[in-house]
Amino acid sequence: MHQGPDEKTVLQDVLEPGEPPVLAPGHDFGTVSDKISAIVLRRPLGLGWTGAAFIGFVFVNLLLMAVTWLFLRGVGIWGINVPVAWGFAIINFVWWVGIGHAGTLISAILLLLKQTWRNSINRFAEAMTLFAVACAGMFPLFHVGRPWLAYWLFPYPNSMGVWPQFRSPLVWDVFAVSTYATVSAIFWFVGLIPDIATLRDSAKNPYARTIYGLLAMGWRGSARHWKRYQSVYLLLAGLATPLVLSVHTVVSFDFAVAQLPGWHTTIFPPYFVAGAIYSGFAMVLVLAIPIRHYYGVSDMITSRHLENAAKIMLATGLIVAYGYFMEIFMAFYGTNIYERAIVWTRWRGPYAPGYWALIACNILIPQVLWIPKVRKSPFWQFVISMDILIGMWLERFIIVVTSLHRDFLPSSWGMYTPTRWDWATYLGTLGFFLFAFVLFIRVLPMITIFEIKALLPESEPHAVEVKA
C-alpha cells in the first residue's frame, strides 16, 4: 500500500499550502536519534567549535579579570556617578534577563498552545535561557558595593534579627530571578532525561555511558514513565508561563516603582515583557541560523521555524513600538513638565543619538520583516536579529541612563560615560554565554530527540493504521 502522508501533513497542506514543514521529509526514528546524538557522541570537535570555544574562553577570562579588579577596587572603577548610579550593570542585567525569556516562551507557552514547531528549537532555547539568566544574575551581584554581603537579601534567621525589606522590587528581583533560574533549570533537565537516556544507549565510550547513565536516572521509557512525564512537563510549562511574565514584570518594577520621570510608568510591565520576547527571539535566531548551517540540521530547524520566529519578533516589536509611542503620548497628554522634559531630553539631549538609533533599530528597520522575501531569508533574519539585539540593549540604556541623568533638580544633572571596566564586564558575560553555549552543544543534544520523533508520521496512531 502506498505510504501516504499523515493527517497532520495533509492538514498542513490544506491550511498553509506551500509552507515548509517543521521537519523535512526523509527521516525515521533511527535517523533522528542518530543525527542528533552524533553531534555529541561522534562528531569531531571541528575548527568552528574550537574557535568559538576559544573566543568564549578568552572573554570568560576577561570577565574574571574585570570582576577581580571590581571586587578589589569597588564599583568606582565603573562610569557610574551620583545622578546616574545605575549604568551598564543594570542595563546588561535587564538585557540578559530579557534574552532568557524567549527560551521559556518557546518551551512553555508554545507547548501550552500546542505549537509543534517549537519541538526542534526548544532545547537550545532553554539552554539559552539558562545561560542568559546566569549572565544576568551576575550583574545584581557585581553592582552592589559590598557583594560579599549579598546573602543578606535572602530571608534567613540571622543573628542580626533583621529581614529583607519585602517592599523593594530589588528584593523581588532576588526571588524572581532565583526562582526563574531554578524552574528553568528543572524544566530543562526534565526535558533532557529521555534524550540523555538515548545518548546513554548510543554511547560507545564507557565513561560517557556512565555519565549519561547517571544523568538519565534510570529512564526506561515505559508507558508509565511517559504518562507521568507528560503531566509533569505540562505542569512545569503551566508554572513557567506565569513565571516568565512575572519575572520581567518584576524587573520592570525596578524602574516603574520609582518616582523618576521616564521610569514611573504603568506601561512598563507588559512593555518590558514584550521587549524581552522581542530580544529573546532575536537571540534565538542569532544562535539558530549559524548552528543549523554548521551542524547541517536545516532539515530539523527548517525555514519554517526561522520564519515563525521572525513573525513573533515582528509582533512583539510592534508592541514595543506601541510602548514607545504611548510613553511619548502620555508625556504630552499629561501635564507633568518633568515627563515632557524627559521626552525632549531623549529627543534632543546628549544621548539623542542613542535614542534615535534605538528607534531605528527597534521600530524602523525590523519593519522590513513584513516583506515575505526578507522574512524568509536566513541572511536577513540574522542581520535583523543582530539589529534588534543592539536596539533592545539601547532601549535599556535609554531607559536607565536618560531618566537618571536629567531629573527633577537641575543641580543634580550629570553624564554617564562607561569605562573600559563597564565594557570588559559586558563583553565578559557575552563570552561566558558563548562558552557555556558551545559546551552545551558539545555535551548535550541541542535538539530534543524525542519531541522531534513525535513530529514523524510514524508517531501518528492513524498513520500506523494506514501502514498496517
Binding site: Y156, N158, S159, M160, G161, V162, R200, T210, G213
Partner: protein, 238 residues
C-alpha cells in the same frame, strides 16, 4: 550489552537522595549555629590580660561597688576602664612587692597606659550608651553576667544584634529598680521573694511577685520609649 551499573547502584541512588537532604540541611544548620557560637562571638571565653585582674576578688571578695572603678557608667556612654592611678590607690600600700602587679607599678612609674584586652567589643558602627541603660533600670549582670564571680573577664552575651533586640523588643522582661542596678546578686521577684517599690504617692511600698508586673510598672515609671522607637535603626546605628 553489559549493564552499565551494578545492582548496588539502586541502594546508592536511594541513599544519596536522603544523604543530600541531610547534608544540605545539616550544613545550613551548622552555618547558622556557627555564627552564633563562641567560636565567632567569644562569649564565655576569658581574655588574656597584662595583669590577671580578678573581678571575683575585687567585687565578690572585697565588696567594691562597680562605680568605684567604672566611674562614668551613670553619666557617659562609655563606662570606662579605670586608670592605673585607681589601682595604685590601694596597691601603693598593699601587695607592693607582688610580682603579679609589676606591670601596674611599671605603668605608674612610666606613665604608659596598661593595654587591657577588651572583652565586650562592639563594632564602631554601633553606638552603645551605658548611662541610658543604667538610668532606665538595666542591671550590670543582666548584660555582663555574674562579674563578681569571674576570675578573668569574659563577655557573657554574644553581643549580636538579635541579643540586643531581644531586650529592646520586650524590656519588661529584664528591668529592675534603679537602686538594684549595681547589685550583682539581685534576683527577679517571685512569690517567696517579692521586690518592693515605693508607692507612687510616696506612702508605703508596692510589692511585686512577678517580673512582668514589675517590668511593666518600671517601664512606665522610667518613661521608656516605645518599642518602635528603641528598635529603630537610628537608636544605635547613628
Amino acid at each position: 550489552m553489559a549493564q552499565i551499573f551494578h545492582r548496588s547502584t539502586n541502594s546508592i541512588a536511594r541513599i544519596s537522595i536522603l544523604a543530600a537532604i541531610i547534608l544540605v540541611s545539616g550544613l545550613l544548620w551548622a552555618a547558622l549555629e556557627l555564627q552564633r557560637s563562641p567560636y565567632v562571638t567569644y562569649a564565655g571565653v576569658a581574655h588574656m590580660q597584662p595583669v590577671p585582674f580578678s573581678h571575683q576578688h575585687h567585687v565578690g571578695g572585697l565588696g567594691l561597688d562597680c562605680r568605684y572603678c567604672h566611674t562614668s557608667v551613670e553619666i557617659s556612654g562609655y563606662a570606662g576602664i579605670p586608670p592605673t592611678k585607681t589601682c595604685m590607690n590601694c596597691h601603693s600600700q598593699i601587695w607592693t612587692n607582688a610580682p603579679l602587679l609589676e606591670p601596674v607599678r611599671e605603668s605608674f612609674r612610666s606613665g604608659k597606659s596598661l593595654v587591657w584586652s577588651r572583652a565586650n567589643d562592639l563594632p564602631d558602627y554601633v553606638y552603645f550608651d551605658h548611662s541610658i541603660h543604667i538610668n532606665k533600670g538595666v542591671g550590670c549582670n543582666t548584660c555582663h553576667g555574674p562579674v563578681d564571680r569571674m576570675p578573668l573577664m569574659y563577655n557573657q552575651a554574644s553581643l549580636q544584634m538579635e541579643w540586643c533586640l531581644d531586650c529592646h523588643r520586650a524590656p519588661e522582661k529584664y528591668l529592675r529598680p534603679r537602686d538594684q542596678v549595681f547589685n550583682m546578686r539581685y534576683e527577679q521577684p517571685t512569690s517567696e521573694r517579692p521586690v518592693e517599690l515605693p508607692a507612687a504617692n510616696g506612702q508605703g511600698a508596692v510589692k511585686f511577685t512577678e517580673q512582668s508586673a514589675l517590668g511593666n510598672e518600671l517601664k512606665t515609671r522610667y518613661h521608656l520609649r516605645s518599642v518602635k522607637d528603641i528598635t529603630s535603626c537610628s537608636t544605635c546605628h547613628r
